[in-house]
């Protein structure tokens, strides 16, 4: 058959590679800053935009969607043309995708710092940005599928399956989890409430890890590890099992983020069982990657690219055995809400995602510039510095995680809690400092890489188009006699896509449907009432300031938690919580039963200067809450939105809500005045106090 001549476009792969490098530095830098803030609260600077609660979502979003996201796209735009023997479907779509994604990142950074957030972890962006993400994601999909349709290679390589499954699942997760009712351009309320919101969020949250940070990166691994080692993957059979079992199992594991919470028992158990089963495909994949290097270990000693890949795969193995262990209820009862989780995710992010990306870049950039890497020695130095950074980061976090947990759960022989929460905060501070240093070391390594790659680009000349020749596909495919049904799937992208969607859909449906069917059966507690307008406004400020990044609102049914925080949380208490605020980390104490524990004046002083009421606290100060007037212009709209979501405010309440708000605000201001604190009832702090004083009191009243 006659060969066709065509060109690979290296420009788009280069653009995404540079974007990955840029956002890696930004994301890690923000991470280092917030790590130091935890060790030294003065570094929050007393400014809203630089406070931990707003910067932490910026860090997670930058690392996940900007750094890793652009890493995924680099791999796709480099490997797709080569695996399919075709130029990408459309140059125009390439660039719409590229600039659209960078625009999303910039908008995300701006809005998060401004406090515009939905408070759903890793899905904090507000609805207009969510829509933009959907559009760009669809364009990315069209571009991938379009390329597949005009391919010159009959079979779709396994790497492509991972990219496609990641794409289709992220689309599903994003759509379901972002369901919200817009109030204004920058404010929306989650469609779901309480228990259901939590389940949907962690179904999303866990699978964002699975199908954004893992599945596409496995696609990257299946392409670049064989390329760098210059030998095919160890076992193609294993990769097929790896693919199907991984995407089948992952989607079910979400509820393991909610063990011992008010989430239904059966859903928790489901999450645990599937998490344990996940060890098999994960380790199958890791071994497949490592065994690819069999007989090439001498190369690993010299080639920094392979060194990065080996440690990345090892970290993948460690994170994927640790994850299932953390999903066991008995382990989780210790690990949850502590720094242990933070250590776990960073082994994955720094080791797996970070090192795989670095390895890819060190391999890719010299090839794009048709030259050799500027300095192999410097790259090896980066490797060692990076590894040291991971260890310096992870070990202190494990240590502080264990320490927190053991201190929280300790009782004296008389049956009293041995340690106050503040004792535990104080005892982990040195580890926070060490962790911040570890992060800095890791960042320093990445900066070495930037220099090294910059020098490489200067030494070579960029190859924007690569000429290649390949035969087109014949119209009629004659299957070999012994062909199997699966090879049919392997040749047909749409079938593969639909199959993958069904496979991941089953898990989602079985998990979510029962919880929604029983909506009316969540045992309602008669005394649980909707928030007053002032409390609702205070709650929105709580969300805006990212309080959930450090405070949980979910007391688990353990002796120590009940002794420390009060009666354990019930599913029925959260029926009006759009969105839920259970949180996932206790850098500060749980707030689920905060209402009535301290007087209004205490909260006033505490938010103005936490160290004044709680010596040794690492909480930032919130001086702007005392200066800014509460903005009530959207209050009627908020009440109406809540009514639409089924919150039983009486009809027409939106028109008198302001009156009720003023009344309650004046009461709080007067109470403060009686305690010698003069402040206008119009300030934001009044609403925050109202909300904090309400937390968990509905059930107390019943007793």
């Amino acid at each position: 058959m006659e060969l066709e001549k065509f060109y690979y476009d290296n420009r788009i792969a280069r653009a995404f590679a540079f974007a990955t490098i840029l956002w890696a530095i930004v994301g890690m830098l923000v991470g280092v800053i917030i790590a130091f803030q935890l060790a030294e609260p003065a570094l929050n600077l007393g400014v809203a935009q630089t406070t931990f609660g707003r910067l932490r979502p910026l860090h997670t979003n930058a690392v996940i969607f900007a750094f890793v996201g652009n890493g995924i796209f680099t791999a796709v735009y480099y490997s797709f043309p080569r695996l399919l023997k075709a130029r990408m479907f459309s140059d125009t779509l390439n660039w719409i995708h590229f600039w659209g994604w960078q625009l999303i990142i910039v908008l995300a950074a701006l809005t998060l710092v401004m406090g515009i957030t939905t408070s759903k972890e890793y899905a904090e962006l507000e609805w207009p940005i969510d829509i933009l993400i959907t559009i760009i994601w669809v364009i990315f999909g069209i571009n991938m599928l379009g390329t597949i349709f005009k391919r010159r290679e009959r079979h779709l390589y396994v790497g492509i399956w991972f990219f496609l499954a990641g794409w289709v699942t992220v689309a599903m997760l994003h759509l379901v989890n972002s369901f919200a009712i817009p109030v204004t351009l920058f404010k929306s309320y989650s469609w779901y409430a309480g228990v259901q919101d939590a389940l949907v969020q962690w179904w999303y949250g866990h699978n964002a890890v699975a199908f954004f940070l893992t599945t596409p990166y496995l696609g990257l691994m299946y392409y670049f590890v064989p390329k760098a080692a210059n030998r095919p993957v160890y076992s193609y059979r294993l990769s097929i099992i790896h693919f199907w079992s991984l995407i089948f199992l992952y989607i079910w594991a979400g509820p393991h983020h909610l063990l011992y919470t008010a989430l239904p028992d059966w859903a928790q158990s489901l999450g645990t069982v599937f998490s344990i089963m996940l060890i098999l495909p994960s380790w199958g994949g890791m071994l497949n990657g490592l065994f690819t290097l069999r007989g090439a270990w001498d190369k690993v000693r010299e080639d920094p690219v392979l060194k990065f890949f080996v440690v990345a795969l090892t970290c993948y193995g460690m994170a994927t055995i640790e994850g299932p262990l953390l999903s066991l209820k008995n382990v989780n009862s210790y690990s949850h809400y502590t720094d242990w989780t933070v250590a776990h995710v960073h082994v994955g992010a720094l080791g797996w995602n970070g090192f795989l990306t670095f390895g890819m870049l060190y391999w890719l950039i010299p090839r794009l510039y048709k030259t050799k890497l500027h300095s192999v020695k410097l790259a090896s130095t980066h490797f060692w510095i990076g590894t040291l950074g991971i260890i310096l980061y992870a070990v202190p976090m494990y240590w502080s995680g264990f320490k927190q947990s053991l201190m929280w759960k300790d009782f004296t022989p008389e049956g009293q809690l041995t340690y106050s929460f503040m004792d535990s905060v104080q005892s982990v501070l040195p580890f926070y400092l060490l962790r911040a240093i570890g992060g800095t070391v890791y960042l320093a390594g990445a900066i070495l890489m930037v220099y090294n790659l910059y020098k490489t680009t200067k030494a070579g000349t960029f190859v924007s188009e690569v000429e290649v020749e390949a035969a087109p596909l014949s119209k009629q495919y004659v299957a070999p006699a012994n062909a199997h049904w699966h090879s049919w799937v392997e040749r047909k992208p749409i079938q593969l896509l639909v199959f993958s969607l069904i496979v991941v859909g089953i898990g989602g449906i079985v998990e979510l449907v029962p919880t929604f069917l029983v909506k009316s059966n969540v045992p309602t507690i008669a005394s649980v009432k909707p928030y007053t307008p002032l409390e609702l406004q205070g709650r929105d400020i709580y969300i805006r300031e990212g309080c959930y990044t450090c405070h949980s609102q979910m007391i688990r049914p353990f002796r120590d938690e009940v002794a420390r925080y009060g009666d354990y949380s019930k599913a029925g208490e959260f029926v009006y919580d759009h969105p839920f605020q259970w949180g996932s980390k206790r850098t500060g104490p749980d707030l689920a039963r905060q209402g009535g524990k301290n007087p209004n004046s205490w909260h006033f002083n505490h938010l103005l200067d936490p160290q004044s009421t709680s010596p040794g606290s690492v909480m930032p100060r919130y001086p702007w809450l005392f200066k800014k007037d509460l903005n009530n212009t959207s209050l009627p709209k908020k009440i109406k939105a809540m009514q639409t979501l089924g919150v039983p405010y009486e009809k027409g309440y939106e028109s008198i809500a302001q009156f009720d708000l003023d009344k309650q605000a004046n009461m709080i201001a007067e109470d403060l005045k009686a305690n010698k604190i003069e402040i206008s009832s119009k300030k934001e702090i009044i609403a925050v106090i109202a909300y904090l004083q309400r937390l968990g009191t509905d059930i107390k009243a019943e007793r």
Binding site: R82, E153, Y222, R231, I241, H484, I506, V510
Partner: protein
């Protein structure tokens, strides 16, 4: 809190775990049967897809 109490109010909720178990079992059985039966030559071909064209050309 035992959710099972109110789960019971969905008629025939027992079908959920049954369906999951059966889907899994059949899915993985099929997957493994395929992988075992798959043709070694075509496996090798697919395995080598990434190591094509550019590399060969440059040699």
């Amino acid at each position: 809190m035992k959710f099972i109490n109110y789960l019971e109010s969905i008629s025939g909720v027992g079908i959920f775990p049954m369906i999951s178990l059966l889907t899994f079992f059949s899915f993985f059985t099929l997957c493994i049967i395929y992988v075992i039966k798959a043709d070694a030559k075509s496996m090798d071909e697919m395995k080598n897809i990434p190591l094509d064209l550019e590399d060969n050309k440059n040699k």
